[in-house]
Structure formats: structure tokens, C-alpha cells
């Protein structure tokens, strides 16, 4: 059951990204280009996506357990640290350079060719490097 829900969610996420136009790096860059021919489409995508999730969090607060019986993830501590800010700066820079963020990069692999594959492999490499560094750090005494 959990596997089916995961797959259905992934499929709907990918189709939503495709329908929204966000799998096209030119449209994403068009939104980030305030000094050019600005394309506000991404705001509609974000607004459309956040609305059902606000409802979902309200339902989660009332039901306390997911359909499969799993508990809901606890809210993270509201701590704003240097890692959060520095990581978001790196992510934003890379997002603008390629016009890709992780979801659309995966969703467009079927047709994005060498560009999409190069981006996705480099992104996966960056994630693995981060995981290795984090594992090493956690072994050291604080």
C-alpha cells in the first residue's frame, strides 16, 4: 500500500510539473529574470501547489495518523542556521544557472537529453558528496 501511494504521488507530481511548464528551464529562468521579459507563471504554480497543502496540514493536525497508520512528521525546530541560509544560496545560484531544480530535472529526463542528464548526474553527485561529508562529520566528537 505504501509503495502504491509513493508511486502514485511521484507520478502525479511529475505530471503536475509537466502541465505547469516548470520542466522547461527557459520558463523558470523567465521567472527569475526580473530585468528581462518577466514571466510570472511560477507564482501561479506555487500558489496552486501550496493551497491544497495548507488543507492537507489542517487535516493532518486533526487526524494525527496517516491512512497507512504512520505518524505525521513533527514540525522542525524553528532554528535558522548558517547551513540553511548558505545551502539555499548555493541552491538558488544553481537553480538560476541551469533553470532546473530537483523535481523538474527528474521529471524531464525522458526528453531533456544530454543537458538534463548532465544536470541530474551532477546533482546526484553533489548529494552523494554531501552525504559522505555529513557521515564523516557525525563520526567526529562534537
Amino acid at each position: 500500500m505504501r509503495l502504491v501511494i509513493s508511486a502514485l504521488s511521484g507520478a502525479l507530481f511529475g505530471l503536475g510539473l509537466l502541465v505547469s511548464g516548470m520542466t522547461d528551464p527557459a520558463k523558470v529562468r523567465g521567472f527569475l529574470d526580473l530585468a528581462g521579459a518577466w514571466d510570472p507563471t511560477l507564482i501561479f504554480v506555487l500558489g496552486g501547489a501550496v493551497a491544497p497543502m495548507i488543507v492537507a496540514w489542517r487535516i493532518a493536525a486533526r487526524t494525527r495518523r496517516a491512512l497507512t497508520g504512520a505518524p505525521f512528521p513533527p514540525a522542525p525546530a524553528p532554528r535558522i542556521d548558517a547551513r540553511l541560509v548558505a545551502g539555499s544560496v548555493l541552491f538558488g545560484a544553481g537553480w538560476a544557472l541551469a533553470g532546473f531544480c530537483p523535481g523538474p530535472a527528474l521529471a524531464s529526463l525522458g526528453w531533456s537529453g544530454v543537458t538534463g542528464l548532465s544536470f541530474t548526474l551532477a546533482m546526484a553527485g553533489g548529494m552523494i558528496v554531501h552525504a559522505r561529508l555529513a557521515a564523516r562529520r557525525s563520526l567526529q566528537p562534537a
Partner: protein
């Protein structure tokens, strides 16, 4: 009235609702946060439950690919500078794992929860995106 609204905006809203519904399904069904970078990153790091994450990623790649086969692939321009694409991928991979989230995990799921970390992350990556695009496109003339 509706004819005056650009088609792209309506498609964006419709696609956005689908994205939000997929995140709601994963939360209310499995009690999981839909974050593309988190799901891929923890899968690559070998964390459990790997099969659920693999199912999500496989469907995320396969469903739009099949739709493109059936209805025709959408517009996509190959990048002129491949090294720039690789650099961008590395930045996105490392940055999203450092920040524990990207446009989906922070931008959609976290923002909808009004989580302070997600609101800050979203403002920062948007700001960094605006500045980077201005520098690279308008000052350097690349991309």
C-alpha cells in the same frame, strides 16, 4: 474574461494544483513530506525506506516521459554551455542537502505549514536565483 488570462498562467495553476495534490497524497497517505531533493538525497545515501523512495522517483521520471511519448515532448532547448550545467547541478545537489529542502520540500510543503525555516529558505533561494540570473545573463551575457 478568461480569454484575457494567458494560457501559461492557467496551465501553471492547474499543474500547481496537481503538485499540491501529490504532496497531500504523500502526507495523508504515508505520513511523508514530498521533497524532491530529500527523497533523492536520502535514497542515494542509502537510508530507509529505500523502496518507497525508489518507487516515487521511478514514477516521477516515468509518468511525464510516457505523457511526452503519448502527447509529444514539450519545448526544451539544449544548453549551450555544458560545464555550466554540471556546475549548476553540483550547486543544486549540495545546496539542497545542506538546506534540507528545495522548491518542493521547503517551497510547497514547508511553506504550507508556515514553517519559519521553509519561509527563510524560500526567500533566500529566490533571492539568490534573481541575483545570479541578473549577473550571469545581463552582466556576463551568458545563458
Amino acid at each position: 474574461m478568461f480569454a484575457m488570462i494567458p494560457h501559461d498562467w492557467i496551465a501553471g495553476l492547474a499543474g500547481g494544483l496537481m503538485i499540491g495534490a501529490s504532496a497531500a497524497l504523500l502526507l495523508l497517505g504515508n505520513g511523508r513530506i514530498l521533497g524532491a531533493s530529500g527523497i533523492l538525497g536520502t535514497l542515494l545515501a542509502g537510508e530507509d525506506p529505500a523502496r518507497e523512495r525508489l518507487a516515487f522517483v521511478a514514477a516521477l521520471i516515468a509518468a511525464p516521459a510516457l505523457a511526452a511519448l503519448a502527447f509529444g515532448a514539450p519545448a526544451f532547448a539544449q544548453a549551450r554551455e555544458l560545464p555550466l550545467v554540471v556546475l549548476a547541478g553540483l550547486l543544486v545537489g549540495i545546496g539542497t542537502r545542506m538546506a534540507n529542502g528545495c522548491t518542493s520540500g521547503h517551497g510547497v510543503v514547508g511553506m504550507a505549514r508556515f514553517a519559519p525555516r521553509s519561509i527563510v529558505a524560500t526567500l533566500v533561494y529566490l533571492g539568490a536565483g534573481f541575483v545570479t540570473l541578473f549577473l550571469v545573463r545581463h552582466l556576463l551575457g551568458a545563458i
